[in-house]
Amino acid sequence: MSLRVGTLLAAPVTAFLLALCVAPLLILFAYSFFRVDFVAISYDPSFANYAKIAGSATYRGLILKAFGSGALVVAITAVIGYPVAWFLAKRAGAMKSALLTLLLVPLYSGDLVRVFAWRVLLGAEGVINRSLIWAGVTDAPIQGLLFSPLATHIALTYNYLPFMVIGLWLAFESLDDAWLEAAADLGARSPSRFARVTLPLTFPGLVAGGLMVFVMVVGDYLTPQLLGGASGITVISAINDLFGTAFDWPLGSAIAWTMLAILMAFFAVGAMLIRRSSLVGGS
């Protein structure tokens, strides 16, 4: 069959995405070179916004904080997710597809409802605090539970754990048990089997799951905003403020594109790592 049919089918979808995803991002890019003159946008291109970001300790700090949060949640979800993914692929048997569905169902409750549920659990007037007081464990509510980095990171882990598990599970599905048996026969203990056989062979899944979790944590607006309290100011909420109350669209655009550029670099590296390690795994 000629290559024409698929190309023809893809054409309307391509046009739609160019108009409503690519074009807006390009306009955003153009805006990042403009600046605000009192209440009007001055269409006079310069690198001033990018210079401002590079020179501002606040913005540099917020960007670093976002990537720090991303890395932390990737690490936590990987530690929690490895045994789960292994179990799903190798031990779940007939329950496998039911368990996979159960894992994904909470995702469909919507991010708003999930964040709300954590507020109900962790708040000063919330379930945990009220119940601790009722049980006589403490006299006053533990304030640090809600509106803290702890609350934000618990909820972020909760939100994105399924994506890590799916990535790792796919890798475990294609992992041949014979490798692990061979390593055991050769006398490798289980920590060393994990480090020298399981980890390298499931590495593409770890990178794929990790990348998904990382971008979603970095780009999450609601969770830090509603659970983090004063710590909830993120680079994403800074963009939101610049487009709202602060009314500096050009600076907001420049921060947004700085984030996009860094995320794209991460993807390029991730894709390269996956390609290289699947070459090793295949040989």
């Binding site: 074009a23 807006p24 045994p83 708003l112 999930r114 709300f116 109900v120 907001g252």
Partner: protein, 258 residues
């Protein structure tokens, strides 16, 4: 080792369902205070939500957005899935990246980008802009659902149809389309659920008519109350019931398709 891992998996699944279980429990607790011990069973919080006209209006707005989004996302997703997983095409890699982009780009960044574009081109914010914007971010998911059904279809069937003299179009209509029908239905339901739950993008591009998610967001921000629990539970279980339906349809597809 094996018992330990079983315990671990149970613990992780308990963690995943803990928040939902808690709000469900306290949505039927007969007390304004959310704490142990339980004060008895009541449905009054649900009655309070059902009687709230503002939320009812928001719900209707949500429906009038989610129906068209589900249709558009399924049509476009169907085309995309056919192109990417069934018929050969030029530039498949680039097309795949383009399709994934709305899923990977932070939603708030996409939202402000669309806001600027609508502003620059003089497009008034309305339910139409919400529908267009939501279709963009639902598209990767609807494509995935349909493609997961398409890749199980035996290509031999197409060759058989061609050998029997069917043209490309009639082979599609009489062989491929019936086999992918379940995928389209599942995609419709998933798109509907994702559209109704979406908040960040919706808040940015919606005009005066505000869908339920935007109304609920402002309530959630300020107060905790058992009636908000009841509302959250209704949203969660409505969504879960729909997704279960979609999964059933998709499973049926994999049985007949195999």
């Amino acid at each position: 080792m094996s018992r330990l891992s079983t315990l671990w998996v149970w613990a992780v699944f308990a963690f995943m369902y803990l928040p939902i279980a808690m709000i469900a429990l306290f949505s039927v607790n007969d007390s304004k205070i959310m704490s142990l011990p339980f004060s008895g069973f009541t449905l009054k919080w649900y009655a309070e939500v059902m009687g709230d006209g503002r939320l009812g209006g928001g719900f209707l707005t949500t429906l009038s957005v989610a129906f068209p989004v589900a249709i558009c996302a399924t049509l476009l997703g169907g085309l995309a899935a056919l192109a990417i997983s069934f018929y050969p095409m030029r530039g498949r890699g680039i097309f795949a990246v383009l399709l994934l982009a709305p899923f990977l780009i932070p939603k708030l960044i996409l939202a402000v980008a669309q806001l600027i574009m609508f502003n620059e081109t003089g497009v008034e914010r309305s339910l139409l802009t919400v529908i267009a914007a939501q279709t963009v971010i639902v598209l990767p998911f609807s494509t995935l659902v349909i493609a997961s059904v398409l890749i199980r279809i035996d290509r031999g069937l197409l060759e058989a149809a061609a050998d029997l003299g069917a043209s490309g179009l009639s082979a599609f209509r009489r062989v491929v389309l019936p086999l992918m029908a379940n995928g389209l239905m599942a995609s419709w339901v998933v798109a509907f659920v994702l559209s109704s739950a979406e908040y960040v993008l919706t808040a940015f591009v919606s005009g005066r008519a505000q869908p339920l998610s935007v109304l609920v967001a402002s309530d959630f921000r300020f107060a905790l109350s058992p009636s908000l629990n009841a509302l959250a539970v209704m949203i969660v279980f409505g969504n879960i019931a729909l997704v279960a339906l979609a999964e059933l349809i998709r499973r049926r597809a994999s049985k007949t398709g195999a």
